[in-house]
Subunit: 192 residues, 2 copies
């Protein structure tokens, strides 16, 4: 009934997630809501703004994947949990991942708030890495560079899978990503 804006969001989210960013038109969203196409413009500046809202939701979902990992006891478990969660997000929420990270060709410009949140999350990861170094689990080197390295590996792996460059056997990919995490971390370890 009421709160048309929320209903537009919801319908748009459904369409974007089920059909990807192309093929979703203002008129189809409007039709789904049961309203005229131009009514949408009372609640959103333009199509881009709707898309941004969905991306926000995607990043929130990513956050909800990452959060539990931080509750582990030691920093090494937390870090492994973060990487694992990132990969699971890519596997289980491919559409969100696409929307958030497969920007159609232009540089993504996150709204201030999300930008901030994103950097905060990154910093959290850097912290775990630094702690691992202090604890003598990782060799001591630049924790930021190290974190970027881990992030790259995780992000790249999901990316290659999203581009179905790795075959479509989910089982196999699941194993692949376990061994990849291992390999990625191995090079950081302090020699015993």
């Amino acid at each position: 009934m009421s709160d048309l804006k929320a209903r537009i969001s919801l319908t748009a989210q459904g369409l974007f997630l089920s059909e990807g960013v192309e093929g979703v038109t203002m008129r189809r969203i409007a039709e789904g809501v049961g309203v005229s196409a131009t009514a949408i413009y009372r609640h959103f500046r333009d199509k881009e703004e709707i898309l941004e809202e969905i991306i926000d939701a995607g990043l929130a979902s990513l956050s909800s994947y990452l959060r539990p990992a931080l509750e582990a006891k030691d920093p090494f478990q937390r870090l492994k949990g973060l990487i694992d969660a990132y990969l699971r997000f890519g596997l289980e929420q491919p559409r969100y991942f696409d929307l958030a990270f497969l920007v159609p060709g232009r540089v993504m410009h996150l709204p201030e708030e999300l930008e901030h949140h994103s950097r905060a999350t990154f910093k959290l990861a850097v912290q775990q890495v630094a702690l691992c170094m202090e604890a003598g689990i990782f060799r001591k080197e630049d924790p930021i560079e190290t974190t970027v390295y881990l992030w790259s590996t995780a992000h790249g792996l999901v990316m290659l899978q999203r581009m179905n460059r790795l075959g479509d056997d989910k089982e196999k990919f699941s194993r692949l990503y376990k061994t990849t995490i291992e390999r990625a971390i191995r090079g950081l370890r302090e020699k015993a």
Copy 2:
């Protein structure tokens, strides 16, 4: 004058590379060539086919980055050269990289020939990895998984940079990617 098809290709390539995939329209290409929009259809099935040609060119360019690396003497140098070339390609040909890898949301379906070429290149990398293992430089494990891991790291790093998640200081990124390669390889080494 003649060979309109080539001129369309060239103009389209210029537009796609200078403005990215969006904002390039059939009418603008046609205008650039000095011909009516529908004339293009005598030479290309549709817009997608033009884009595919440009992507082909992009992958050819990637190939030209990778090829010299294979002329090094030992497999370890060849492998490092391959990774380095991949990263340089991402840095120096960002628009090609976007076109080839930032598929707007749908799974990329390469034409047969390119698919084959791409897999062949991957196999070549796997070979170097396997040789490194035989030579006792890398510890012996699944060379395919190992190659995917290296590829992921390189691809992810470029990806994050393309999404300007890593700042825009080219100098810094240049250093970052050197240390990332090192870190990625470190974990593969046979303990001395």
